[in-house]
């Protein structure tokens, strides 16, 4: 029974870990950029929900209707006016600009929200469903539903819409995409917008599950990295599988060894298959 319980918990949390990685993997795959500020984007998303929920007097989950568009816009503008400019100077300058952004964001959040631990409270935070001897937390189910529907929606968007096709084409070959009439600059901005929007979702999820601080970005970024590299850069389904593997490792390893297990997992993947399980 314990084993089944663990597997279910790992699976449910795996959705959240995949969500942490999915925004990062998009930027890797499409913009070909390592976004070191992604962790701070996630924390920013969490704070947005913390602020918006009491302000609008709604359930934290519903704040997504405000925070997701807001973060999309921020990502779009950020890429269009700042990161895109840095990318013209080369890969490393762009990497360092995102690094700069990460430390700026971290301290701006520290100034606004102080270093106190934060948590997004919901009425169902401690509720659980009993099935036979299994006890499944309602919160975990909510998180899983949010994550999986977001990732499914993103996959469908990439697959079936004009913009989605343009994004995939740009990821494949930027010059050829430009020759079919795609504005690469705009596609990059949209990709960053989506990435930040996914960070809003991920932020809400981690904020409901765990406590967070302005300085939590680093650890989220690292989780995102691990998930993304295990899954293969730029692969959305790979990210989902990797997220679930990561979730299992966390649940099995517990608070002390969970992270360590996943780091070791990552290093093994890197040695055996340096481009990730689903990498090409």
């Amino acid at each position: 029974m314990y084993i089944i319980q663990t597997i279910i918990n790992g699976l449910l949390l795996g959705g959240v870990y995949a969500l942490l990685g999915v925004g990062m993997t998009m930027i890797f795959g499409i913009v070909k950029l390592t976004n070191l500020a992604h962790g701070e984007f996630i924390v920013l998303g969490a704070y947005l929900s913390v602020v918006l929920a009491p302000m609008l007097g709604i359930d934290p989950v519903l704040t997504l209707f405000v925070s997701v568009p807001l973060m999309f816009l921020a990502g779009f503008l950020l890429q269009y006016f700042l990161i895109g400019k840095a990318m013209k100077k080369g890969n490393e300058p762009a990497l360092l600009v995102t690094f700069g952004l990460s430390i700026i964001l971290q301290d701006v959040m520290l100034l606004i929200f102080s270093a106190d631990a934060q948590h997004i409270n919901t009425s169902y935070a401690v509720a659980s469903i009993r099935i036979g001897e299994l006890e499944i937390s309602v919160l975990n189910i909510v998180l899983f539903i949010i994550s999986i529907s977001a990732i499914t929606a993103l996959s469908a968007f990439l697959k079936y819409t004009h913009t989605g096709r343009a994004i995939r084409a740009t990821a494949d070959d930027t010059d050829a995409a430009a020759l079919t009439g795609v504005s690469v600059k705009k596609v990059y901005a949209i990709a960053m917008g989506i990435s930040m929007a996914s960070a809003a979702l991920a932020g809400l999820c981690v904020g409901m599950k765990w406590t967070f601080y302005p300085s939590s970005g680093g650890s989220y970024l690292l989780i995102a990295f691990v998930v993304v590299v295990i899954g293969g850069l730029g692969s959305v389904p790979g990210t989902l599988i990797a997220g679930i593997l990561f979730g299992m490792a966390q649940v099995i390893g517990g608070a002390n060894y969970g992270l360590l297990i996943s780091y070791i997992m990552l290093l093994i993947v890197l040695i055996v298959k340096p481009k990730g399980i689903f990498g090409k």
Partner: protein, 238 residues
């Protein structure tokens, strides 16, 4: 109809200190096929990349249907009706043939006719319809060229540039593809620019020709009045 569809005037371009294109000029009339021939490294690809907006010129002018498109970005040039089939086909390898073709109709002007144009493309290359679900990366070289041509046609271009379309293909496939190009030119009245190293075939297909050498236009004329000796001298620079 007297005005040429594409006019390139004294175009200069380069990479850093290296100048790849010096004072290149040529023009294409409506419904005409022209060919640009020259050795490897003569600047042909730089020239068409500059026209298509993938490379920025240092000076000179490109006029398309009377409009100055010199500094426009590649995607704006496509939506004006000037498309290019890039060297090495450059399909979107991870996307299906169908999606590759749909990508071709990305410009707003082409999007509303997408269904109709797609049928047209599948008529021209029936083999593509049979394999429309397959990822482009799994196709053969010739099939990939067809996808690239089809993709360019989806934008409903008025002028189409083929950059070394026969590179790496077998003679039988080259012959077939050339047949399609002539078909495209005759049926849709699309102007065609062929960039080639295969001089003989290009000259047989084109109405007029330009020879490039070391970034300069060194010879031009009507294809049917070409002097073999002069062509050879211009081509090799001897």
């Amino acid at each position: 109809m007297s005005e040429p569809i594409l006019q390139v005037q004294e175009l200069n371009a380069g990479y850093g200190d290296f100048s790849a294109l010096e004072q290149a000029s040529f023009s294409v009339d409506h419904g005409q096929i022209i060919t640009l021939i020259g050795l490897n490294g003569a600047g042909k690809t730089t020239l068409v990349k500059t026209i298509a907006g993938l490379h920025k010129p240092t000076s000179g002018k490109v006029l398309f249907m009377g409009e100055d498109i010199t500094r426009l970005s590649a995607e704006k040039i496509v939506s004006r009706g000037l498309s290019m089939v890039p060297q090495g086909s450059r399909c979107f390898n991870r996307m299906s043939v169908h999606d590759n073709l749909l990508m071709g109709s990305f410009p707003k002007s082409a999007r509303k006719h997408a269904k109709e144009t797609l049928r047209h493309v599948y008529e021209l290359f029936p083999v593509l319809e049979e394999m429309k679900k397959r990822p482009a990366g799994t196709l053969s070289g010739g099939e990939r060229q067809m996808v690239a041509i089809g993709r360019a046609l989806m934008a409903r271009p008025k002028c189409l540039i083929f950059d070394e379309i026969s590179l790496g293909l077998s003679p039988a496939i080259i012959k077939d593809i050339y047949k399609r190009i002539i078909q495209i030119n005759e049926n849709d009245k699309t102007s065609v620019i062929l960039i080639e190293q295969d001089t003989q075939r290009a000259l047989r297909t084109a109405d007029s020709f330009y020879v490039m050498l070391k970034g300069k236009m060194v010879l031009s004329g009507k294809s049917n009045e070409v002097d073999a000796e002069m062509l050879k001298k211009a081509y090799f620079g001897i």
